[in-house]
Amino acid sequence: MDRFAELVIASVLLAGLYATMAYGLGLIYGVLRIVNLNHGGMIMAGAYAGWYLHSEYGIDPYLSLLPVAAVSFLLGIAMYRGLVHRLPRGAAGGVQSLLLLFGVWLVMRNVAYLLFTGNDQTLRTSYSTRAAVLAGALVSVNRVAVFAVALATLIILHILLTRTYLGKAIRAVAQNPDSCTLVGIRVERIYALTFGLGTALAAIAGLLGATLFPFNPSFGAGELLKSFVVVVLGGLGSVAGTAIAALILAAVEVFAILFIPAYLTAAVGFVLLVLVLVLRPGGLFGQRVLG
């Protein structure tokens, strides 16, 4: 029973990270119809940013979250204005944007190799190994903190998208951009902001991930794939759908430990992805867009 409770708690805590990670990818796809392959690159960049600020300046990773998110947001806007903006979108622009953003990812990865070598790094703080008893199970304090930050991020996003003019405009642009222009929404500006938001979410997820796992310049590849799984499972843009899908993926991975060797658990998510695509082929990226 204790073991079961432990695994349930572990699933929920991991799901927070997965949801944050996936939401950025889903948001950009939902609004711009672009698969941001550089999502993986930004996850990696977020991890290194948190690690660097901690190891060089002793800044706690949770303190560097906001500034890293802000810089990534601006970087995302710059990437949109400088690169993505020039590409055709949707069905017509699929290949170009995939190639471009994959290229950006490769560049970022190689810059990371150059700056930090390919060695695994870890972000260790004084509380990294501290644990507490929660509902009869022993849980890591840091994992709870990661979950709390992820949850707060998703709640803020949900409020932004449903309660503010800007958020409603973002959802409206996803559904009919011309009608947005007609009521005075500057669609290009919404695209840039959305790309910035998605990029910031990737960096936040990367920084949180760095407090949990060792990482190197390839960090982000597996996370990108997991983000795909969550987006495919949960549909686009619904915070609730994303959260449920993230929980499913996390639970499947965590509980798989009971049945298969640990080094195979990472593959479980992809088996899930294939199953979903086979069983619900039309469900790729869902029908509802930021409803």
């Binding site: 003019y165 009608s179 007609l182 009521v183 005075g184």
Partner: protein, 234 residues
């Protein structure tokens, strides 16, 4: 108030408008008539800025619009009710209306304009929490008109508001347009329902393959033998 001066417009290599000119004066209700593919929707797209004319100029209150971004034209007082409604299907009726007042000029008075729209179309109040995609055709048309009114336009462009609606709903729609005109709004109405359009309009233009073929007061057009034969079936 609105002056379209000899505009040419094209989609890629396909020229659609060729030297089209028309004018809508303050407080008028002008109808733009013509058969399918004549270029009526394209004309409205040039006025709203969704399409840039290749030649010619569109002026609003004497100001050339070629330098005004499409997204700034709502702020000048131009609003369009598009041909296929073009609502945001997964936003609620309420959200669709609220976004109609997105432009900062109208945002401050969004609450009172929302009340006004909901008094005009009580059905929208009943359906306010429903997503727009689940509305009936008539309700969607009301929502599209309501959204346009939320920006407090001085010039309202309506693209075939009666399209695909039951006769009784069409009648309500024309009644609503008449009421808006009576309240002082200037209206450019695109219609294929000539009889109904000429009944409420002050003047009209008939376009064919991107050019004005006929124009005049509603009474003149109603009694024009060519129109009676070609469009009214008389």
């Amino acid at each position: 108030m609105l002056e379209v001066r000899a505009i040419d417009a094209a989609y890629g290599d396909v020229q659609v408008l060729a030297g089209l000119s028309l004018e809508v004066r303050e407080k008028e209700i002008v109808t733009l008539l013509g058969s399918n593919g004549a270029g009526k929707t394209t004309t409205l797209r040039c006025v709203t800025g969704l399409l840039a004319p290749r030649k010619g100029e569109v002026l609003f209150r004497g100001q050339p619009l070629s330098k005004v971004a499409a997204s700034d034209r709502a702020g000048l007082g131009i609003a369009l009710v598009p041909e296929a409604r073009e609502l945001w299907p997964q936003l609620t009726v309420r959200e669709n209306l609220e976004l109609g007042a997105y432009d900062k000029r109208a945002r401050g008075r969004a609450a009172q304009n929302l009340d006004r729209v909901q008094v005009m179309f009580p059905r929208l109040l009943e359906r306010r929490s429903q997503v727009a995609g689940s509305l009936s055709g008539g309700e969607q048309q009301m929502c599209a008109i309501g959204r346009a009114l939320m920006s407090e336009p001085s010039l309202l462009l309506l693209d075939e508001p009666s399209l695909g609606l039951a006769p009784i709903v069409v009648e309500q729609m024309f009644e609503a347009i008449r009421a808006l005109h009576a309240s002082g709004m200037t209206i450019l109405l695109v219609e294929q329902n000539l009889a109904a359009a000429l009944e409420i309009a002050t003047r009209g233009y008939v376009i064919e393959t991107g050019q004005v073929k006929l124009s005049g007061t509603a009474a003149e057009l109603r009694s024009d033998p060519k129109i009676r034969a070609a469009y009214l079936g008389l």
